[in-house]
Amino acid sequence: MNNRTLNRVGMVVGCLLIMVWCLLPVAWIISLSFKSEASITNGNPGFLPSEGTSAGWANYQAVWDNEQFRRAIFNSIGISLIATLLSIVVATLAAYAIARLEFRGKKLVLSLSLAIAMFPVVSLVGPLFDMWRAIGLYDTWPGLIIPYMSFTLPLAIWTLSAFFREIPWEMEQAAQVDGATSWQAFRKVIVPLAAPGVFTAAILTFFFAWNDFVFGISLTSTENARPIPASLSFFVGADPFNRPASLLAAGAVIATIPIIVIVLIFQRKIVAGLTSGAVKG
């Protein structure tokens, strides 16, 4: 009994420690975003913005009014969503083939996709920069969507093919006997059952695309396609030696919101054990 309470207390304390460790920077940046520029420059201490140093929503207002920032947010959302969607569609089809079909070169496809994932991003940026400029993809949405897709595909394929392998073969066969074409069986039976896998892969892909900085800053030059992480680094005020920390903080907070929204939406779909009851356990 005593041991159990001790266990529980330890658990709670441990969790709290980890949460503080992880969330302190987030809390700090939120606190910064509500302080006025002057108070930060003066080195105003204190976690909570107090009387006179608080800027209220002014920072957010200022960031949002910035045309460059709004473009960047729009770019990021658009590019990340399209990259995620394409990556998931391609990965679903590829993973299904890998899990279900016997074809020559199956191993090759799998190891090739792993090999792609192994390349350090930095080593590819240079060649891509040259190539994109030559074929006119530099500073365009597709110019970012393509690398995001190719870097997230391997992970998505591996995740999804694991999910597909879990689905009993009989499901599809039953659907085919019931009068479905292979495509209908895939769409009406397999895809709904693989939904948790699809959403897991989607979240991971979206994270990668949203958080990417190296491609974002190297393959863009204007607001045409520059995503939010790159844009924040260009966010300098009037004085380049004195960067507007509070505005940057507000921008960073805004940049976090879409991620949280996406995770909350997708996470609901990730219900474990969706296939339970399909067959006799």
Partner: protein
């Protein structure tokens, strides 16, 4: 509804192994056909070839008037119940049953009517809105059946549908399936390894061993006139006893003594040397009880090792020694039947009122007229009544 004709069906896998070898079976319109055999005999493969989930290496599969060898499963209009039910877990029971109708683009009103018909037949009305995950095994089984009966399929195919249920439920569902099939009068092919299901459900039973059809006959014919050792050992529980035997005149010499058999049977087995005699457990009786009823037959005396009294009947076990030649054949047979090779012993079913006790030298009566004699080398039944044995492939030529 339509007949299913299989002509010289062969299924060969990539490594050249023939899972089904030259099987011809004709299922009449409305008939209940059972495919039975131990695991690995090709019965499920055959069923999957009928429904189109396995390619046919050679031979003709004809359903109704159509040769369906090259048709996709959905074009064959058959309904199948899978061994593990294969319900769609993301759909409610209602939508599971409606699935084939929705695929056929049937209007909602009609779908609703048919689904409710099927669900009331199977007593699933109160579960229609539930998901398969929340149902018991028997309910899932019924949903799988509902999905099959809801549409106007040409035939039903069952792949060991009861093997996942417990014994009591299995008995209930067995009668349920029989009742449903009789009512709908639809051609049915049913795969099982359980010989009780085979005997009780089937109009006719096809016994398969390692991809080869052994005998195709009614349950009664199979039981009374098995075509070979394998069929004789497979059908019946407890299984038929196999004893080394030699025929001299009209008497058969068994390890326990001589038994008189009918002259026509003895004639067919004469001059063959060492044979295997097959006697069903219930063709023995406690000699004192048989004498009261004045049944004709022979008696012998043997030491009973174990007795199992079940109330209505008694099983007595009598060990015996078999010559090597017979023993080998019997061990091979055990292997074919998925069994372990136990030592050779006689299982005798006596009346429940028998007072024979363990360790006693008992007088046992045996019905000589029911003894079958098998060739130990080929396994062929020498005393089979061909008029009443259905079809025994391979034996037809010799008989004709």
């Amino acid at each position: 509804m339509s007949a299913i004709t299989m002509k010289n069906i062969v299924k060969q896998y990539g490594d050249g192994f023939p899972a089904v070898n030259d099987v011809s079976i004709d299922v009449a319109d409305g008939e209940f056909m059972i495919l039975v055999g131990p695991s690995g005999c090709g019965k499920s493969t055959l069923l999957r070839m009928i429904v189109g989930l396995e390619d046919i290496t050679s031979g003709d599969m004809v359903i109704g008037e159509r040769r369906v060898n090259d048709l996709a499963p959905r074009e064959r209009n058959l309904a199948m119940v899978f061994q593990n039910y294969a319900l769609y877990p993301h759909l409610t029971v209602y939508e599971n049953i409606a699935f084939p109708l929705r695929l056929a683009k049937m209007p909602d009103g009609e779908v609703d009517k048919l689904v409710r018909d099927a669900s009331s037949t199977l007593e699933l009305d109160e579960h229609l809105e539930r998901k398969p995950g929340n149902l018991s095994g028997g309910q899932r089984q019924r949903v799988a059946m509902g999905r099959a009966i809801v549409r106007q399929a040409d035939a039903f195919l069952f792949d060991e549908p009861l093997s996942n249920l417990d014994a009591k439920l299995r008995g209930q569902m067995r009668t349920e399936i029989a009742r449903l099939q009789k009512r709908l009068g639809i051609t049915t092919v049913y795969v099982t390894h359980d010989q009780t299901e085979a005997m009780t459900l089937g109009d006719r039973v096809a016994v398969l061993k390692r991809g080869v059809l052994q005998q195709l006959a009614t349950p009664r014919e199979l039981y009374e006139n098995p075509g070979n050792l394998f069929v004789a050992g497979f059908i019946g529980s407890p299984p038929m006893n196999f004893l080394p035997a030699t025929v001299e005149g009209t008497s058969v010499k068994l390890p326990f003594g001589s038994v008189e058999i009918p002259a026509d049977r003895a004639e067919r087995a004469a001059g063959r040397g060492l044979l295997i005699a097959g006697i069903r457990p219930e063709h023995f009786e406690d000699a004192s009880l048989a004498a009261e009823e004045e049944r004709s037959g022979s008696t012998f005396s043997a030491k009973v090792e174990t007795v199992e009294w079940l109330g209505n009947e008694t099983y007595a076990y009598i060990p015996f020694e078999a010559p090597d030649e017979v023993r080998e054949q019997l061990q091979q047979l055990e292997k074919d039947l998925d069994g372990d090779s136990l030592r050779t012993q006689l299982v005798v079913s006596l009346d429940g009122s028998s007072r024979i006790a363990e360790g006693e030298d008992a007088e046992i009566w045996v019905d000589g007229g029911r003894i079958h004699l098998f060739d130990p080398a080929s396994g062929e039944n020498l005393t089979v009544d061909r008029e009443r044995a259905g079809r025994i492939p391979g034996a037809e030529v010799g008989a004709g």
